[in-house]
Symmetry: C2
Subunit: 151 residues, 2 copies
DNA sequence: TTGTTACTTGACGTTAACGTAAGCGTTATA
DNA sequence: TATAACGCTTACGTTAACGTCAAGTAACAA
């Protein structure tokens, strides 16, 4: 059973698996986020590279820039740094945590609003005998819609 | 008591309140996200404009593009559309909800990792008699750190 | 040998979301 | 009356994260 542990991937295999382009992967290497081995000229990606890619894409999804991701991927430089250096990183981590928490609140709000919107549209589409629950959700949405232009 | 309901704001007042530049507000107007009244040449922002700005910034925080925000702000066009049009919007809403939920998962993962990282750094900094709880969180982080380069 | 396919390295192009600077008008204050 | 302070438009500049060629190489098939 090939457990992927010692497998290798070509650039287009990885690109396809993660739905990114080969260009993007080369770009990440250029920026120091990846450095796959080489076989001749061709890049050869290990399971480690693949894991890093996964982290890169996750980082992107939550809004980190590639530069930030690059810094964070390099745990060595954090663990080896002086205590002062450590303090700097702690501040940055904490600040980022706050940003992320705010972002989570925003996202939850957005999800609620979008779901209410869906309910409202469903009710509109059905139009005939909309269930009580749908109607109440629709009313909630209308209230929301009004509220968003006041306060 | 001036309840803000019939107040107006100048561009720099709003800019300061929301920590954006006047340039950004003009830009949003250019793109059709805001359209403040005018007094002569000068823009005059109403409470409604202010509420829209709040929504714009929230939309930005959760990753919507200005173009997407513009479309969503325009509820009229949704409510007035044909049922087919409505269906299109429902699909877009639902898709967006899925993206947001994935984003929330990512964010929660990132928060956990960053908090574990902070705990680990604290333990490192203290270095003297680190409490059992800190030590266990630190161990958790080290496990995480190893795990991230495997699987 | 000649394709065909996958990969490479430049190098320039593109888009979003503003920044920045120039030049000008209006209003408040010294 | 002049000199800020604030606002306006117009227009070019900037950054991140790639996209899009162009031109070349290495491996393998017919």
């Amino acid at each position: 059973m090939p457990s992927n542990a010692s497998r290798t991937w070509t650039i287009s295999e990885l690109a396809e698996e993660f739905s990114v382009t080969a260009r993007a992967l080369r770009f990440y290497e250029d920026k120091g986020l990846l450095n796959p081995a080489r076989h001749g000229q061709a890049r050869v990606f290990s399971a480690t590279d693949r894991a890093r890619l996964r982290l890169i894409l996750r980082g992107k999804r939550v809004g980190f820039s590639l530069e930030e991701i690059r810094e964070m991927l390099d745990l060595e430089s954090i663990t080896k740094g002086s205590p002062q250096h450590l303090g700097v990183w702690m501040k940055r981590f904490r600040a980022r945590i706050e940003v992320l928490k705010q972002q989570r609140r925003d996202i939850e709000g957005a999800i609620e609003e979008l779901e209410a919107g869906c309910a409202w549209m469903e009710a509109r589409q059905a139009d005939l005998e909309p269930s009580e629950e749908l109607k109440s959700r629709a009313r909630a949405f209308e209230a929301l819609a009004r509220a968003r232009l006041e306060h």
